[in-house]
C-alpha cells in the first residue's frame, strides 16, 4: 500500500502551554481506515487540525500525496475532506445550498448530478430544500459529511463522527464509512467508542498526552495484546488449587466451583492440553468449559495505563 499521509516529527504547542503534540510520526496508507484512539485532550484533534490547515505547525513536516501541507496547501487541501467534532452549520441555509457552498470553496464547478447522488447516499435527498435549523441532530451530522464529501476528496477526516448519536444512526454511519472505503477513500477517524474502531478500522493508533503510543493493524494488535481466559466449571467443589496445578496460576472462583486459566494465543503453546491432562491425572473432573477474549477496550485501557 502506498503512503498518502506522512507526518514526521510533528510538534504543536499552543502559546506557551504544554505541547499538545510531541514529536509525532505517522504514515497513513492509501485506502485504509485508521482509527485514532485516545482520552480527551490526547492530541487527536490537534493532529487532524495541523494536517487540514486549521492549526499552525510548531515544527516537523506533514506531507499529503508527497506534497507539503504548507508549501503546497492548495493541492493538499483539494483532496482532503474534514468533518469536525462539533456540529458547525449555518442554521438558516438550505441543505443543498450549504453543500454546494462547500464544493465551490474547493474551487470545483457546480455538479448537481454528483451532489444529488451524494445526498441520496446520505439519505438527505428529500431534505435538500429544508433549512438546516429544522433538521434533527443525526441529519445535521449527515449534512456535515455531505459538505466534507462535496468536492469528492480522496482523504476524509472524521473527528468523533458518532459522538452523541443514537445506536441506529451510529451503525448507519459505519455503513457509510465502509462504502467510502470501498470507493477508495482513505479515512482517518478519531473516536471515543472503542467498539467503533473495532468494527470498522483496519489499523489502530493510540495517542495519549500528545504522543503516539502505537500504530498497528487492528487484528494483529488484538491478537498480540489479547489474553484469553479459560473458565473451567468443576463437578466437585475445591477448597484450594491442588499443588500439581500451581504452575498454571489458576484462580479459584465461584466458591470453589470453577477456576480461571489465563493464556495467550500468540504464544506457541497455550498450556491447555497439559492442564487438562494434569487435571485428569489427579482426578479432577470438569463439568463445563468457556473461553473469553480481551476486548480492544481492555487493551486500550491497559496501554494508556502503562
Amino acid at each position: 500500500m502506498s503512503v498518502i499521509i506522512s507526518v514526521e516529527n510533528l510538534v504543536k504547542v499552543y502559546g506557551n502551554e504544554f505541547p499538545a503534540v510531541k514529536n509525532l510520526n505517522l504514515n497513513i496508507n492509501k485506502g485504509e481506515i485508521i482509527a485514532l484512539l485516545g482520552p480527551n485532550g490526547a492530541g487527536k484533534t490537534t493532529l487532524i487540525s495541523t494536517i487540514c490547515g486549521l492549526a499552525s505547525i510548531t515544527s516537523g513536516t506533514i506531507k499529503v500525496n508527497n506534497l507539503d501541507v504548507i508549501k503546497d496547501y492548495r493541492k493538499t487541501r483539494e483532496i482532503i475532506g474534514l468533518v469536525p467534532q462539533e456540529l458547525a452549520l449555518e442554521p438558516f441555509e438550505k441543505v443543498m445550498n450549504a453543500v454546494r457552498f462547500s464544493r465551490r470553496l474547493f474551487g470545483k464547478k457546480d455538479d448537481n448530478v454528483y451532489l444529488d447522488k451524494l445526498l441520496t447516499k446520505l439519505q438527505l435527498f428529500e431534505k435538500k430544500n429544508n433549512i438546516i435549523k429544522s433538521l434533527s441532530g443525526g441529519m445535521k451530522r449527515r449534512v456535515m459529511i455531505a459538505k466534507a464529501l462535496s468536492h469528492n476528496p480522496q482523504i476524509l477526516f472524521l473527528d468523533e463522527p458518532t459522538a452523541g448519536v443514537d445506536v441506529e444512526l451510529r451503525k448507519d454511519m459505519w455503513n457509510i464509512i465502509k462504502e467510502l472505503k470501498a470507493e477508495g477513500v482513505t479515512i482517518i477517524l478519531t473516536t471515543h467508542y472503542i467498539e467503533e474502531a473495532e468494527m470498522i478500522a483496519d489499523r489502530i493508533g493510540i495517542i495519549n498526552k500528545g504522543e503516539l503510543l502505537l500504530v498497528e493493524e487492528k487484528n494483529k494488535l488484538i491478537k498480540r495484546m489479547s489474553v484469553k481466559t479459560l473458565k473451567i466449571k468443576l463437578k466437585k467443589t475445591l477448597t484450594q488449587i491442588p499443588k500439581k496445578l500451581n504452575k498454571y496460576n489458576l484462580k479459584l472462583i465461584d466458591e470453589g466451583n470453577s477456576f480461571h486459566y489465563f493464556y495467550n494465543t500468540s504464544k506457541e503453546k497455550t498450556g491447555i492440553t497439559s492442564l487438562l491432562y494434569d487435571m485428569n491425572e489427579i482426578g479432577i473432573n470438569l463439568f463445563d468449559i468457556q473461553t473469553e477474549e480481551t476486548s480492544l477496550e481492555e487493551i486500550f485501557v491497559k496501554i494508556i495505563k502503562d
Binding site: 487541501r77 458547525a88 459538505k147
Partner: protein
C-alpha cells in the same frame, strides 16, 4: 487563484443580505430619510446656506458617509464573526483558499452592500433636494475607497472580537461618535477655535471633507490631504489584516 472559492464566499454573503433585506437595505435607507426630514427639512429650512450650498444639500455627502461607514463595518465584521461564532471557519481554513482570497470574498461583499446603499441614499436624496455633483467620478472613487477601507476595518473587528458585545463596541462607541463629530452635519469652521483644532484629530473629518469636495468643490481640508489620509487608512487596515493572517491571530488555533 481560487476564483470559484472567492465567488462562493461573495455570493453566500450577498444571499445572507437578501435573506435579511429589511435589516440590510430598508433600515439604513429609512434612517437616512428620517435624517433628511429632521435635519434637511425641519431644521435645515431655518439654516443659512453654507458656502452657497443649501443646508439640505450640504448634509447629503455627510449622511451618505455616515451610513456607508457604519454599513461597511457592520457587514464585514458580522460576515466573518458569524462563521467564527457558529464554528464554520473550519471550512474556510481547510479549503484551498489563500487568506487574500478569503478577505476579497468577505470585504468584496461588504463593500458591494455598503456601496449600493450609498448610491440608493444618494438617489433617495433627490426626493428632497436637487444636487449637482461637481466631480462625479471622484465621488464614485472616494465612495468606493471608503467602503473598501471600512469593510477592511470591519473585517479586523470581526476577527478580533470574541463575542457580540465586543463586535458592537467599536462601531457604537468609537465609529458612531467620530462620524457624528466628523462634520456630517456641519463644517469644522462652525466650531469654536479650540474644537476646530481638536476636530482635526478625528480621521473621519478628512473623509467627509473629501467626499463633500467631490459634490460641491468645498471641504474642511484640502482634497489632497483627504486623499492621502484615506490611502494611509486603507494601507493600515491592509497591514493589520496581513499581520493577522501571517500569524493566524484569532483565526488559527
Amino acid at each position: 487563484m481560487n476564483l470559484r472559492g472567492i465567488r462562493a464566499i461573495y455570493i453566500y454573503e450577498m444571499n445572507r443580505s437578501f435573506r435579511t433585506l429589511i435589516q440590510s437595505l430598508v433600515s439604513p435607507v429609512l434612517s437616512t430619510i428620517l435624517y433628511f426630514i429632521v435635519f434637511g427639512a425641519a431644521i435645515g429650512s431655518r439654516m443659512e446656506n453654507i458656502s452657497n450650498v443649501s443646508y439640505g444639500e450640504f448634509i447629503v455627502p455627510g449622511l451618505i458617509m455616515l451610513t456607508v461607514q457604519m454599513q461597511s463595518v457592520n457587514n464585514a465584521s458580522f460576515g466573518i464573526y458569524f462563521p467564527k461564532f457558529i464554528g464554520t471557519t473550519y471550512e474556510l481554513l481547510s479549503a484551498p483558499l489563500s487568506f487574500v482570497e478569503i478577505v476579497i470574498g468577505y470585504v468584496g461583499a461588504a463593500t458591494t452592500k455598503a456601496f449600493s446603499i450609498g448610491l440608493i441614499i444618494l438617489a433617495t436624496s433627490y426626493l428632497f433636494v436637487n444636487i449637482e455633483i461637481m466631480h462625479p467620478f471622484f465621488m464614485i472613487f472616494f465612495l468606493l475607497l471608503t467602503c473598501i477601507t471600512f469593510s477592511l476595518l470591519g473585517f479586523i473587528i470581526g476577527i478580533v472580537s470574541d463575542n457580540f458585545e465586543q463586535l458592537n463596541i467599536v462601531p457604537m462607541l468609537i465609529i458612531t461618535p467620530l462620524v457624528f463629530l466628523g462634520g456630517s452635519f456641519y463644517t469644522i469652521d462652525m466650531l469654536p477655535v479650540f474644537w476646530q483644532n481638536f476636530a482635526l484629530l478625528n480621521p473621519i473629518v478628512y473623509l467627509i471633507s473629501g467626499f463633500r469636495w467631490a459634490f460641491f468643490g468645498i471641504g474642511d481640508v484640502p482634497i489632497i490631504t483627504s486623499v492621502i489620509f484615506i490611502l494611509l487608512f486603507t494601507s493600515s487596515c491592509v497591514g493589520v489584516i496581513w499581520y493577522i493572517f501571517k500569524t493566524g491571530y484569532r483565526i488559527k488555533n
